[in-house]
Amino acid sequence: MSKHSKQMASTVDQDNQTLVKVRNLKKYYGGGGRFSGPPVKAVDDVSFDIQEGETLGLVGESGSGKTTLGRTLIQLETATEGTVSFSGEDITELSGEPLKKWRKNAQIVFQDPDSSLNDRMTIGEIIREPLDAHDWKSAADRREKVQNLLSSVGLQEDHYYRYPHQFSGGQRQRIGIARALALEPDFLVLDEPVSALDASVQAKILNLLEDLQDEFGLTYLFIAHDLSVVRHICDRVAVMYLGKIMEIGETEELYTDAKNPYTASLLSAIPRPDPTSDRTRITLPGTPPSPRDPPEGCQFSTRCPAKIRPEAYDHLSNETWNAIEQFREVVRERTRIQFGIRDRLKRQLGLFSKYDDIDEAADDFFGDIEPPREVQEAIDTAIEQVKAGHPDQARDQLKQQFGGICDTKRPDMYAVSDSGRLSYCHRHADEYRGVNETLDRRSDN
């Protein structure tokens, strides 16, 4: 961890205009009580900075914790641990009146323009509400302010008296933006502001956001799952996976030369509007694991195409190795099943339950390939353990057998370029082959 913070510090020194400074931020849900299960680690130890006037993109798959991170930054959620400082002031400590005062500085635009506007209020009332809540000047001033806002987001002044249902999706999003701008904040969290919109409307909102940024000197945190939108609007990008930032750095650099295996896979999965391109796509297997039960090592280790294999198994063919990984995933899934009382009793009595049949699944994976003897033995042991009703033992056994450093140890953040880009992967350590080299080699055979 110390290495990590040192590197963060070095990037900070280059720019003195840091607006938001996030350090070791964690947000866990549940897990407090004696009988509750392990907590859901929505945001798990994240550190970064946002410079004044820049747009930082936050991308990742659904469930990666992007929205939670955005909401925690502006204190819509209370951080479990860590600090968020705004121009030097730690806002995780604020509460009551000081917090309310501070809120003027940071606002949010929500994803769904249908559910974020109150259908019973006129547009004028909606946009005026934050001004009312903060007792901003006089009523006449507020009214004038709202009319100015309407025109700066490209709406008509007479829209003041209309209701939300009279507007299209793009216009409603403009209303949401106007409301967020009402208190003249410095910092705006944009939570998927264009993902509910059509391409041509999307383009208009993106242009509007850029204009507003120039006009009011805003700083954005732009949350999105659409990577091409992020490339267009953001100065820097952070890629999130399962509550952790996998890579963060300058947008163009990151898009053209991804260093982290997750970023590389994510970028290669974007459908290109070019039917003639013949790039090799990395298709990730499976889905992200549950944030309640994340892998002990690197969060991405269960799907990583560049995972470090233990030396003893380095000679295995890709096919065999993939079969092993898939089999491990099935066993892991088995340990997560929640049983009803009857099945639990059966298992305790040592009776064979239908949930414990795994032969068929193993057959699917290993039927066509002939794994080496030591692999076969480990698999067979695991099958026996699952059948005996102990998938957790099978899981541990397989991990011991096939787990490399990626399975057991959290990686550090490594600086991977001159501009201070950081990437979270064991492969950046000197003793391992680089990420891109590995990906190329594995896709060849």
């Binding site: 299209s168 059509d198 459908p271 509007p273 699917d364």
Partner: protein, 364 residues
Amino acid sequence: MSSTFHDTEETMQEEAVLSVRNLQTVFRTDRELIRAVDGISFDIKSGETLGIVGESGSGKSVTARSIMGLVDSPGEILPGSSIKFNGEELTEYTDPEYQAIRGSGIGMVFQDPLKSLNPVYTVGNQIREALKINRGITGKQATEKAIELLEDVAIPDPARRLGEYPHEFSGGMRQRAVIAMMLACDPELLICDEPTTALDVTIQAQIIELLQDLQEERDLAILFITHDMGVIAEISDRVNVMYAGEFVEKASVEELFENPKHPYTEGLLDAIPGTLAEQDRLNTIEGDVPTPNKPASDCRFAPRCPKAFKDCTEVHPVHVSVSEENDHSAACLLYPDDRSRDEAVQYHISQNEENEQPQEGDEE
């Protein structure tokens, strides 16, 4: 309007699995007649993917539902429309006959898999039900077949997954389960209405790959509807661009992206962010998709078109072949571009007159 496509019709008719001619689907409201789909024609052959792309409100989904016979009152398919599936005229089918086609010939995958799955039955139950109703397979045999189908759509550990409920599946896996249910009917044509829109890119890539594999294995014809130009480029062989109930451009996928002809297609391609990295501002198309509530007597894109001229608001464009390649056509008064503008407009007027036939249902 009905014979606008007479030049290509003969050559394509033999092998087409689905052949749609002059499909007009309208919705009657108190005030007006909304022409959600207004006279479109296309063919799909087996083993081929036809993409339909357009903004929301352009009539893509209504097209899909019309083919599936899922248009309910106040919606109506006008007489004069023809949907032929393997030579059978579907528009004349009764409900039970349609049910049989849905169970055996045409499958449909919707955008939201949660809405296509029943939350109170296990996934296995639902696949077995599809097998029982459509193919008469029951009991142990059905279970085995269901496991096989889940395996076909690459769901790991299928035997256990059969006993799980839809909420226990992830989004991508649900969509796979829906596709498995469709495969249970052994369809020849699969209609995919934005099947990947609700999914993450990595999962989207998996589903696209799955559809491509299945198509290769089973020689499926796929009608793929989306608003995402990137997805269209990956999966389609041919693309039809839809705008306000009409096709404005039809071409093979390479041709369309390399050489777009219709101003609307050009606009759509320009609005994709991130393609030109250094470009500062995104190009936009002004205005919104209009609601087509009158018979087309003009170009419906004219109010938003950067290249519009006077005649655009008076003459309804017909499809004109726009490149040497025979199957690239655009409905725009700018073409044929080897003639002068007046001649081109005259050509469209004369084509319109030729097609002018008294059509029932056109008058309200």
